[in-house]
């Protein structure tokens, strides 16, 4: 029997919010994105409810909502400063502390270009393979590998920087 939208939302809301929060690095934005997407799912429940891959579909809606929002904003933003470069020069206060390092990593992830961040999140948070990530992001597997490899290189460069400073 087809479950109701409410049951669907109750079962998934926690995971969807965490997914969106990892994606956006912003709990408030994540909440808005998830709410907007679920309102649309609710309106189209008759069609989405019986879909075999509906969980994947809803996650894709969340990613698209976030990426298109950023795109709309970016289109109106002239000459944004490249904050990643500034970030590279910021040493962590306590290179020895793992928690400090992890929080620095969180901030550095938040500064990645959006598609790189989305690909990285799908790999290391959602544990998806290249093919699944390619489908969710609507790009080729080669592009996925390139996103992840660039993101990791940038993060390595960033978090090793304070260690060099310390030496």
């Amino acid at each position: 029997m087809l479950d109701t939208f409410d049951q669907f939302a109750v079962d998934r809301i926690d995971r969807l919010l965490r997914f969106a929060t990892a994606l956006t690095c912003d709990p408030h934005l994540a909440q808005d994105v998830v709410q907007d997407v679920l309102v649309r799912v609710q309106h189209r429940w008759a069609r989405i409810g019986p879909m075999p891959g509906r969980d994947q579909y809803v996650r894709r809606m969340i990613i698209n909502e976030y990426l298109s929002w950023r795109r709309r904003k970016a289109a109106r933003t002239v000459a944004a400063t490249h904050s990643t470069l500034d970030a590279l020069g910021t040493p962590t206060a306590d290179p020895a502390g793992y928690v400090t390092e992890r929080d620095a990593m969180r901030r550095n992830i938040a500064r990645l270009p959006r598609k790189q961040r989305a690909a990285l999140m799908l790999r290391f948070y959602a544990d998806r393979d290249d093919a699944e990530i390619a489908e969710l992001l609507g790009c080729s597997e080669g592009t996925v590998r390139s996103h992840i490899s660039r993101a990791l290189s940038a993060l390595r460069a960033t978090h090793q920087h304070p260690v060099r400073e310390a030496l």
Partner: protein, 322 residues
Amino acid sequence: MIIDRTEQLVRDAFAEEAARAADPREVLANLRGKRPRRSYGLVLATAAVVVFVAAVATFVVPKVFEHSTVPAAGERTGTPAKPTSVLVVGIDGARNTDSILLVRTAANGSTSVVSLPRDSWVSAGGAMTRLNQVFVNSGMDTLVSAVGELTGVAVEHWAVVDMAAVGTLTDAVGGVPVCLTAATEDPYAGADFPAGNQVLDGDSALAFIRQRHGLPNGDLDRIVRSQVFLESLLGKLDGKRLPALIDSVKGHVQTDPGLDVLGFAKALADSDTLHIGTIPYENPDFPAPTGVMAVEVDPAKVRQFVADLPNTSPPAGVTCVN
């Protein structure tokens, strides 16, 4: 076995990030329509929206105190009204600072209300951050000094107002009359209004001041609505309803211990002009270095605006609005 330290950090960082997710119960409640959505605007939460709720409470609450006959209150009504500045913060159920207002009473009998967009990119406690993160991360003292630094006004007092107060207050006064030029709806705000004269109850009042979609001028219309709503609500205040009013706001407002509520009330009650404005901003889609989108402001322009506001002409009375 070789463990890639960066990858491990990335995994842990994402897990940590995900753990910051909003409370699922709040999102479910919003979806089920138990209350209007906290905020639909993804980036620019233009102040006067829900912010305004705080203004309503700021004005109404002191009036309630002033007219009440509590003995302790009577002893202090002799306090002369003197110019003061109060930071009024409107919070939602999760203690997010949805609206931030600076209310000043002047010696010439005018009151000015400056609203500060919650996503303003400001300096607080030595670092740059979004204004709505200051209270939740560093507390009221830091917020007070951040607003003081931004506006150039020495903020003397603060009050925290629960947004839910507006709905209950509206019901307590028996509804607030407004007039619309055209029928309008916005499923996101829970708004569905006919054209013409109508009386708002608590739920529709919240929808009325939150609606952004389906309006010809979007946020600008919303600001006008907020002002019309406040005027109309103030007009409904009536001594006979005071017990119900006091009941409705009880527990919705907290202030700093030093705020002379009655003195402030007297200044507000005596003020003959009300100036309301939102601070000027530069880029409303400013990509902040921390990766969030914020509203960029120029402190010099903000200070000029705040200093000039009490001398501007108040808007003419509006009858029907969009």
